[in-house]
């Protein structure tokens, strides 16, 4: 279920990402790649012997210092799952991986829109869910009522 960390690291090195951390967490095997290198790394992981052909899920998280994008990859032939994370600055560029994984088409639009990133290399980089003029809703800077505030209505 968990891919071999050393193999993953060697694939990442071959793709140009050296000394990439690939550690086991509560999530599974997580490897980190620099922001703009995600498409190349994902393509390398797809073509490699580990055969990560499926992009199950893609999500962004506002870490307070920037946006962290998590790609959830799955290899069906080997029944393994891998998580690739990249860190992007606020208002940074999100490089599209649709060439490798067409399943990212709508998810990237959603992530870019709700986190305020600029979508690069995408055939249709429009907003997906919200109307023009709305701020990036999933950022922590956009406030929401806390549990106590909800209870004190």
């Amino acid at each position: 279920m968990l891919p071999d960390a050393t193999v993953v690291r060697s694939i990442l090195s071959a793709a140009g990402v050296h000394d990439a951390p690939a550690e086991e967490t509560s999530l599974g095997l997580v490897c980190r790649v620099p922001g703009s290198g995600a498409p190349g790394v994902l393509a390398a992981l797809r073509e490699s012997e580990l055969d990560f052909r499926i992009l199950v899920d893609m999500l962004g998280t506002d870490t307070g210092e920037g946006i962290e994008i998590t790609y959830h990859l799955r290899s069906l032939s080997r029944d393994e799952e891998l998580y690739a994370k990249t860190a992007l600055p606020y208002d940074g560029d999100l490089h599209s991986v649709w060439n490798t994984f067409p399943s990212a088409l709508l998810q990237e639009r959603e992530t870019a829109e709700l986190f305020g990133l600029k979508l690069v290399g995408h055939p249709n980089p429009k907003r997906l869910f919200t109307t023009e003029g709305l701020e990036p809703l999933l950022r922590k800077s956009v406030p929401q009522r806390s549990v106590e505030e909800v209870r004190q209505r």
């Binding site: 199950v56 998280t61 506002d62 994984f101 067409p102 249709n124 980089p125 869910f129 549990v147």
Partner: protein, 401 residues
Amino acid sequence: MTDPRDLVTDVGLLAEGAHDPGSPPAGIRRAPTGVDGLTTEHLVINMGPQHPSTHGVLRLIVEVDGEEIVAAETSLGYLHRGIEKLAETRRYNQLGTLMDRGDYVSGMHGEQAAALAVERLLEVEVPPKARWTRSLVAELTRIASHLIWYGTFGLDTGAMGQFLYAMRDRESILDILEAISGARMMFNYIRPGGVVADLPAGIDGRIRRFCNGFDAYLDEHHALLGGNEIFQARVQGVGEIDADTALAFGLTGANLRASGFGWDVRRERPYDAYPQLDFDVPVGTTGDAWDRYMVRMEEMRQANRMVRQCVDGMPEGDFTAKVPKVIRPPEGEVYASVESSRGETGVHVVSDGSDTPYRYHYRAPSLFACQVLEEILPGHLIADAVMLIGSLDIMLGETDR
């Protein structure tokens, strides 16, 4: 290995230069063709968001040449309620209520996914009775959801007769679920650790009565719609998705299995009582709308089989594990998924140690079905568009969240 770029056609949405600033929506372009001084234009038609037949508020912008679709683009967001943002101020045992309102037709599956994610974070063991109860209500929900799909799929093709027959059977299921959980739709029954309350006395008799009658009803449903030659002519050979395309676009569930690839979360990543249940997973061959229809009909039959097994084999014991009232899981992330009626419904939770999630992501299978819709629609007729939306069983509540 197939290059995914070969799978994606170069018409319409993804064509070269499709996105010029100042041009109409990406890929939708008017292509005049002139003969003898007469020009014909492609019409750009808007289907939805309110429409007698789209399943939810789905807006499709299609460019048609006569009746043939040349390019299509889905426009989502009409049901976007910010579930992922709302989840950041909800306690962990309240997340199920948000999932109920995502895919509102199969609410128990969403609750199951949320509960599984929290249980994995807490590393708590769910007692057997709770696991079997969860599988029972999940399979009942699967039948209910597929009955809605069946009823509305017929309506999409013009057959109105079978809709209320499907609803009649769904009423029996909703009555059972109401007796178990107290609600017909927003159940709020599956929580982290188990379920909220024990099964009521006498419910197994009711469920057995339903199971005994349902197989015959399912045969009737199949004879009414699937046995009709006009329906078969409408549905066979239309909307073919081969396995490579399906996998590349992230399809899961019945849509993927109809294309020939048999991946089922209940088999590959078992959870709850599924390791102990005996069931078959139907797999299609060509991935056309007919295969998707047959796979879902067979899934209903298998779900009925599982419901009977759950009722017969229900163990004794606690209906929930001991979890604190206010759940504060340790820091970390987890991804948990279930096989919902539409595919792999996944929940990715990031916890920062407090009583509310730091980040909550809902992987909705219908979003990928919408993507693949844009891919397969060119080349079909408008009449097929409505039918294909129905055959992919797109639920806008979970697509838009």
